[in-house]
Symmetry: C2
Subunit: 108 residues, 2 copies
């Protein structure tokens, strides 16, 4: 619950959400902080602060590669968050869960 709030807060910011989505799309290769800053048109220091917040929430991890820092999305954390959000849905509310099945099956 505490970590869900941390993750939600990390994603509840336009720049951070956009950064996270780019990292999800980038897949296992990840993206360098500078490349993210360019694509998102953010100042490097501002982006760094925001990546730090995503990292503290466990949604991304960083790894140094030469002069660059490569950031990658952490799928486990995202899965945990999604799992938490739908956790209660069968305790009275298949209305959420059933559409979710559709989203998931359309997607995969």
């Amino acid at each position: 619950m505490k970590s869900a709030v941390t993750s939600l807060a990390a994603l509840a910011h336009e720049g951070r959400l956009a950064a996270f989505r780019l990292l999800v799309q980038a897949g296992g290769e990840g993206l360098a902080a500078g490349e993210l800053a360019r694509r998102l048109d953010m100042l490097p220091n501002t982006l760094s602060a925001n990546l730090n917040i995503l990292s503290h929430a466990g949604l991304v991890v960083a790894q140094r590669d030469g002069r660059s820092m490569i950031y990658r999305a952490q799928y486990d954390a995202m899965r945990d968050l999604l799992g938490f959000l739908v956790e209660d849905c069968c305790g009275g509310s298949p209305e959420i869960c059933a559409p979710l099945m559709k989203v998931a099956s359309d997607c995969c």
Copy 2:
């Protein structure tokens, strides 16, 4: 995207997340504001402000019933949010989507 950030911000608060989860569990009957305040041990005015934030995000709706205000979770908004969060998962990252399938099928 903008509405996703609004919804995420609304849920990124311990009290609001707990309130929303209670409403999800409560199902179509919903819960009165006072009942929520009792269960969550929140002052009525504080809860009211927080319900207003959830309502503004479209995650709950309110309906007067006598002296009480009945709040209900809005499943469509939650489904949209979850859909948005997994939207990109197949653009390189079935790692998120596949576990989500499992979550959804375990649940329903």
